[in-house]
C-alpha cells in the first residue's frame, strides 16, 4: 500500500502541464522507481501525484535533421540500450544505463526520471554530462532550453521551476561525432547497486591518432552532484598518447572533484577510485578510438 493522496492521469502533454500548473505541489510520476521508494520511506507520503507514464509522445529516440539525437524523457533504460541510434553513435550511454539496477528497473525506469531525481549517483548523468546534453523543459508558458551542465542545483535538487516538466534531451552531432567513450560504474556488487563512484570519459583523437584532440570527463559521487572535470579536460587537450598521459589525467582530475566521507565509503577510498577509474576509462576510450600506448 502506497500512501498517495490524489492521482491524476493526463492523456496529453498539454493536459499534464495544465494539471501541473493547477497542482504545483503534485509529484510527476514517470516509472516511479524513485518516487515510490520515497513514498514508502515517508519522505513523499500523502502527496498528490500526476502520472505521466502513459504519455507516449514523451517516449522514444530519433535523429533530427542536423544530426542531433533527441531522447524523450520517458524512454526506458532498456530501450536506450537497444536503440540502433544510440548503439551506433553513443554506445557509452547505452552501456551506462545497462548497468542500472536489474532488468525490471531498466524496463520501468526512465532517463528523464534519472536526471530529474537529481542524485549524484545517477548512472545516466555522467555520460549525458560528457556529451554536453541539452534539455528541453516545458510549461504552459512555453519551452525553455537549458544545458544539462546547469541543471543540478544540489543533492536531489534540479532546476525545474513551478509547473515545468522535462520533455526532451538532445545531444548535438559535434558532440558525439568521431568520439569514443567509456563509462565505468564502481559499485560494491555487480547489480542492484548504486555507484560508489561513476566515471564517464570520451575522447576524440587527432587525425594521426597520436594526440588527444578533445577529452571530456565526468564523475558521479565525486561531489554532491554529478560533475565535469573541466580543468583536467583543458590540461589534457592536445597531449600525446602515453602512459604518462593517463597518470597526468588521474592527477589532474583531483582539482575538479570533491568527494566526501560517508559510511558507504571513505573520502580516501573514493579518491583512489577517481584516479584509477580515470586511468582505466581514458585508456579504454583512447584504445577504442584507435590510439596506441
Amino acid at each position: 500500500m502506497y500512501d498517495f493522496n490524489n492521482i491524476y492521469q493526463p492523456k496529453t502533454v498539454k493536459e499534464a502541464l495544465e494539471m501541473k500548473k493547477a497542482h504545483p505541489d503534485a509529484l510527476l510520476l514517470a516509472g516511479g522507481s524513485d518516487i515510490l521508494i520515497q513514498c514508502r520511506e515517508g519522505r513523499l507520503a500523502g502527496r498528490d501525484v500526476i502520472s505521466i507514464y502513459t504519455l507516449d509522445e514523451l517516449r522514444g529516440i530519433c535523429m533530427e535533421d542536423d544530426g542531433t539525437i533527441l531522447i524523450r524523457p520517458l524512454t526506458s533504460f532498456s530501450h536506450i540500450t537497444n536503440n540502433p541510434i544510440i548503439k551506433k553513435y553513443i554506445p557509452t550511454l547505452g552501456d551506462a544505463v545497462d548497468q542500472i539496477g536489474g532488468p525490471q528497473i531498466r524496463n520501468i525506469g526512465t532517463i528523464g526520471g534519472n536526471i530529474c531525481n537529481g542524485v549524484t549517483s545517477a548512472d545516466s548523468a555522467t555520460t549525458l554530462k560528457t556529451y554536453d546534453a541539452i534539455l528541453e523543459i516545458a510549461s504552459v508558458d512555453g519551452i525553455r532550453i537549458l544545458p544539462y551542465a546547469d541543471f543540478s542545483k544540489g543533492p536531489g535538487r534540479v532546476d525545474l521551476r513551478e509547473g515545468e516538466m522535462l520533455t526532451g534531451i538532445r545531444i548535438k552531432k559535434d558532440s558525439y561525432e568521431n568520439t569514443f567513450g567509456k563509462y565505468i560504474k564502481y559499485s560494491m556488487r555487480r547489480a542492484m547497486d548504486i555507484a560508489t563512484l561513476g566515471c564517464s570519459v570520451n575522447v576524440r583523437l587527432t587525425e594521426d591518432k597520436k594526440k588527444v584532440d578533445r577529452v571530456r570527463i565526468a564523475f558521479g559521487v565525486a561531489g554532491p552532484v554529478p560533475l565535469r572535470a573541466l580543468s583536467a579536460e583543458e590540461s589534457l587537450k592536445g597531449q600525446l598518447i602515453s602512459e604518462e598521459l593517463l597518470e597526468a589525467a588521474s592527477q589532474a582530475v583531483m582539482a575538479d572533484v570533491n568527494p566526501r566521507n560517508s559510511w558507504r565509503a571513505s573520502k580516501d577510498f573514493r579518491i583512489q577510485l577517481i584516479k584509477e577509474l580515470t586511468r582505466r576509462a581514458l585508456r579504454s576510450s583512447i584504445e577504442q578510438a584507435g590510439g596506441e600506448f
Binding site: 564502481y186 555487480r190 542492484m192 571513505s266
Partner: protein, 761 residues
C-alpha cells in the same frame, strides 16, 4: 532404495505454481493491521507518550504502549525448555519495553483498520525519553562503571565461561615451540530470508491462535504462554509454508506481542508483518565476535598448546545468549583436538540490535578465526597448509572430553583430496609464488567440523504420527518443520524407505498446528534429518509392524513372516506377494469382525551426536587498485554421511556457500558509532550478493555411512556456510601477502589494508 535418490521435492509443484500458502496468503482480508513504534534512541527510558494526534487518524483502533503490557519478562530463544532452573533461558524483555536498550526497541504499537492509517498514526506519536549514552562495543560495556543495560547484569556480562583441556601452562614450557598470536574479528550480519518476520493472531472461544512464519511452532506456543502468563493449552500456533529462516525464526519475534494485541481488540484478527527494515534491525542478527588466539606449535607441525579468548557482542537482549560463543570456543577445541587447549568466552550486552541464532550457530565466527589463524601459523613457521591441517585435525574415535561427543565417522581426508584436485592446488601454489603487478591470483582453503543437533547440551526429542489411509497410503505428521531446506522431502523418502511404500503413498503434512501436531522442537542445529529422522524411522517401523500384523490376521500367517515392499505384503524370505497394502488398509478400516484404524505414534529421545566435516577450496583474483576480489573457482566438499537426497543436498550446499561468500566478502550491518542507529537496514545498502556476483559453485560429497545416523546421515543444513569466508581470506593472503583479520573483505577494508601494506600509494 528411495533414500539416496534425487527425487523431486514433495513441495516443488505447490511452490512453483504458487498454490503453496504462506502467512500472507492466509490472513483474513479484514484483519486489523498492527505496526510497532520503535525507539529512536539506543539507550534510555521512556518517560511518557502523547497519543492525542495519533488517535485522530481515521482508522486507528487502539494504541498500546510499554505502560500497558504485562509487567513480566520472558525468554525468546528457540531452545527446548529446561525444567532445571539453572539451565533456563534468560527472561529479559517485556512485550513492549519502557527501558530502551537499542535503537529500534519496541515501545508501543498501533492497531488500525489499514496499513496507511497505522503508519500515519505511528508518525504522530510523541515520545519523551530520558536518554543515556549508547554503549555500542563490548569493550565499552565491560569498562568499570559502565551503565548496566539490564539491572540483573550489573557489569553487562551475560555469561562468562572457560575450560582447559590438559595443562596449558605446563605445555608451553616445552623447548623449541613457535608462538603465533592473532586477533580476528567477525561482523554483525543478517539472515536475509526472503519472507520477512510476520504473523497474524485472533481468538476463538477464549483461546489465542497465532499463525506465524516460524521454524519452531511448539516452542513459540510455550514462549507466548510465558509472555502472557497463561496455560499452554490456551495457545495454538500454526506454521504454514515459510520463506526461509536461517535461525532468525528460531526465536519468538512478532508472535508474543501479536497474541497480546488480538486480546486487547476483543480477539479480532490482527496482522503484524515486519518490513524489511524492521526485519534487519528488530529481529535477530548473527553475533559479532572477536577472538584473541595464541598458539604454540612444534617444528614438526603439531600443536603443543593454544588458547583463545572470545568476546561475543550480544546486543540489547539475551535471546540465545552465550550458547553461540560457547559453541565457538568448543569448535576451536574440537577441530584440532591436539595439545593443551584453553578457552575463555564472554557474552556481553550492548545497545545494539539483538543477536540470536543464525546458520551454524557461532561456528562461522570461529571457523573464520581459527582457519585464518592456522594459515598465519603455516606462513610464519613455513608449514604446508594442507599437511598441517591433516596432521592436527579430528580423527575417527576422538571423543570430546567436555561434551562427550564422539567422532563416529570421517571422510575429511578424502574431502581435502578432492578439494585440492578441483582447484589444482599444488600447481597453483607454485605458480602464484612471487607475483607482482596490479592483478594477482591466489588459492586458499579451510576445514570445519560441526555437530549434528544439540545433544548433550540440550534435550533432543522428536515425535511423529503416521495414519494409514484406506488406499494404503499414509499421512505423516511431524513437529519437525519444512523451512525451505527440503525437510519434508527427505522425511517422505525416509518414511517410504522404511515402510516399504512408494513415495507417492506418503503424504507428508507440511503444516504444523500445535493443537494436533506431535511434538518436535523444530528446524535448527542441522538436527532434523538426524534426530527427527530417527523418529520417522521408529514410527515407520511401528506402523509397518501393525500393518503386517493385520495382514497376518487376514492371511492367517505369522506376521513376523511378512514384510512390505513396493506397497505389497510379501514373504520376508521369498519376497512372494500376498496382498497389496491397499487391500490390508481397506479391510482394516471396514472389517465387520476386526476393524482397526491403523496408526502409529512414537517419540524418539535422541542421546547421541556426530560430527559433520568438510572443507572449502578457492582460487581468487585480486585487483589491487580497485580493491576488489573475484572468485575464479570455489568448491565445498562435505562429509555429511550418507546423502539422503543429492538434489536437495546440493541446494543446501549452494545456499550455504552463497551465504559464506557474503560473509567473507560482502555483508555487514553498519551501525552509526554515535547513535547506534543501523545505517543499512535495507537490501540496497546491505550488500547481499546478486546472481551476477555469484561464481560457479562447485560441490562434492564424500559419503561414509555414519553408524549413529538413522540412515547413515549427519548434519548438512548449516555446515556449508562455515569454511567459505576463511578459504577466501586465505586465498587473498596467498595472492597479495596481506593477511586480513576481519571480515568481510569488502573494498573499503581492502583499500585500508592494501594501503597499510604499501600495495596502494
Amino acid at each position: 532404495m528411495i533414500v539416496g535418490k534425487a527425487v523431486n521435492r514433495v513441495d516443488a509443484e505447490a511452490k512453483a505454481s504458487g498454490t503453496a500458502k504462506y502467512v500472507a496468503d492466509l490472513v483474513d482480508r479484514n484483519a486489523l493491521v498492527a505496526k510497532v513504534l520503535h525507539s529512536t534512541i539506543a539507550n534510555g527510558t521512556v518517560l511518557s507518550f502523547d497519543l492525542d494526534e495519533a488517535y485522530k487518524v481515521p482508522g486507528v483502533v487502539k494504541i498500546v504502549t510499554c505502560f500497558d503490557v504485562p509487567d513480566k519478562q520472558f525468554p525468546t530463544p528457540g531452545h527446548p525448555w529446561s525444567t532445571h532452573k539453572a539451565h533456563q533461558d534468560i527472561s529479559d524483555r517485556k512485550l513492549l519495553n519502557t527501558r530502551v536498550r537499542f535503537y529500534g526497541d519496541d515501545i508501543a504499537a498501533v492497531i488500525a483498520e489499514d496499513e496507511i492509517a497505522a503508519t500515519r498514526a505511528l508518525k504522530l506519536i510523541k515520545v519523551e525519553y530520558e536518554e543515556y549514552e549508547p554503549i555500542l562495543t563490548y569493550e565499552d560495556a565491560m569498562k568499570d562503571g559502565a551503565m548496566a543495560i539490564h539491572e540483573e547484569k550489573p557489569n553487562n556480562v551475560v555469561v562468562h565461561s572457560d575450560y582447559e583441556m590438559g595443562n596449558f601452562d605446563e605445555a608451553i614450557k616445552e623447548e623449541g615451540l613457535i608462538k603465533v598470536e592473532g586477533t580476528y574479528e567477525t561482523p554483525i550480519v543478517s539472515h536475509c530470508h526472503i519472507e520477512n518476520a510476520g504473523s497474524y493472531a485472533y481468538m476463538e472461544s477464549g483461546r489465542i491462535i497465532v499463525v506465524s512464519s516460524t521454524q519452531i511452532p511448539h516452542i513459540i506456543r510455550r514462549v507466548i504462554s510465558q509472555a502472557l502468563d497463561c496455560g499452554m493449552g490456551k495457545i495454538r500456533v500454526i506454521k504454514p509454508y515459510i520463506g526461509g529462516g536461517f535461525g532468525n525464526k528460531q526465536d519468538a519475534l512478532t508472535e508474543p506481542l501479536n497474541a497480546f494485541l488480538t486480546s486487547v481488540v476483543g480477539g479480532r484478527c490482527v496482522k503484524l508483518f515486519y518490513t524489511r527494515e524492521e526485519t534487519f534491525v528488530c529481529t535477530r542478527t548473527r553475533h559479532a565476535m572477536k577472538f584473541f588466539i595464541e598458539s604454540y606449535v612444534r617444528k614438526d607441525g603439531t600443536f603443543a598448546a593454544r588458547k583463545i579468548k572470545a568476546y561475543s557482542t550480544q546486543g540489547a537482549y539475551a535471546s540465545h545468549a552465550h550458547a553461540l560463543v560457547a559453541n565457538a570456543v568448543n569448535g576451536f577445541r574440537m577441530m584440532y583436538p591436539v595439545g593443551a587447549i584453553k578457552g575463555d568466552a564472554y557474552t556481553v550486552y550492548t545497545n545494539l540490535p539483538t543477536a540470536g541464532a543464525m546458520r551454524a550457530y557461532g561456528i562461522p565466527q570461529i571457523g573464520f578465526a581459527l582457519e585464518a589463524h592456522v594459515d598465519d601459523i603455516c606462513q610464519k613457521a613455513g608449514f604446508d597448509k594442507v599437511q598441517f591441517r591433516r596432521d592436527n585435525m579430528m580423527q575417527v574415535g576422538f571423543v570430546d572430553p567436555f561434551t562427550t561427543i564422539a567422532c563416529h565417522s570421517s571422510g575429511l581426508d578424502e574431502c581435502i583430496t578432492r578439494g585440492k584436485e578441483y582447484v589444482n592446488w599444488d600447481q597453483k601454489i607454485e605458480e602464484y609464488k612471487n607475483q607482482t603487478g596490479d592483478i594477482r591470483r591466489g588459492v586458499g582453503m579451510a576445514v570445519f567440523c560441526y555437530k549434528t543437533g544439540v545433544y548433550p547440551i540440550a534435550l533432543e526429542t522428536s515425535a511423529v504420527r503416521m495414519v494409514l489411509n484406506q488406499d494404503g497410503s499414509t499421512q505423516v505428521q511431524m513437529g519437525a518443520t519444512e523451512i525451505g531446506q527440503g525437510a519434508d522431502t527427505v522425511f517422505s523418502q525416509m518414511a517410504a524407505e522404511t515402510l516399504g511404500f512408494t513415495l507417492d503413498k506418503v503424504n507428508l503434512i507440511s503444516t504444523q498446528d500445535t493443537d494436533v501436531t506431535p511434538y518436535d522442537t523444530g528446524a535448527y542445529a542441522s538436527r532434523q534429518t538426524y534426530v527427527s529422522g530417527m523418529a520417522v524411522k521408529k514410527t515407520a517401523l511401528s506402523l509397518k509392524k501393525k500393518i503386517c500384523e493385520f495382514a497376518g490376521y487376514m492371511l492367517n500367517r505369522d506376521p513376523s513372516d511378512l514384510d512390505i515392499e513396493d506397497n505389497n505384503i510379501v514373504h520376508v524370505g521369498t519376497r512372494e506377494k500376498y496382498l497389496t497394502t491397499e487391500e490390508v488398509a481397506m479391510e482394516a478400516c471396514y472389517s465387520l469382525e476386526n476393524s482397526n484404524h491403523i496408526s502409529a505414534e512414537e517419540t524418539h529421545h535422541c542421546s547421541d551426536n556426530t560430527y559433520a566435516l568438510g572443507c572449502c577450496f578457492a582460487e581468487v583474483e585480486v585487483d589491487i587498485p580497485m580493491c576488489s576480489v573475484k572468485i575464479l573457482k570455489i568448491i565445498n566438499v562435505h562429509d555429511s554421511g550418507k546423502i539422503i537426497n543429492p538434489q536437495t543436498a546440493r541446494g543446501q550446499v549452494h545456499g550455504g556457500m552463497s551465504m559464506g561468500i557474503g560473509y567473507g566478502l560482502y555483508e555487514r550491518l553498519i551501525i552509526d558509532p554515535k547513535t547506534g542507529k543501523t545505517n543499512n537496514d535495507n537490501l540496497l545498502d546491505y550488500k547481499l550478493m546478486t546472481v551476477l556476483d555469484t561464481p560457479d559453485l562447485g560441490y562434492d560429497f564424500v559419503e561414509p555411512e555414519d553408524p549413529s545416523g538413522p540412515y547413515g546421515n549427519k548434519a548438512l543444513g548449516e555446515p556449508p556456510v562455515i569454511p567459505v569466508a576463511p578459504a577466501l581470506r586465505n586465498a587473498v593472503y596467498n595472492a597479495t601477502g596481506v593477511a586480513v583479520n576481519a571480515i568481510p573483505l569488502h573494498p573499503q577494508r581492502l583499500f585500508e589494508e592494501f594501503s597499510k601494506a604499501g600495495l596502494i600509494k
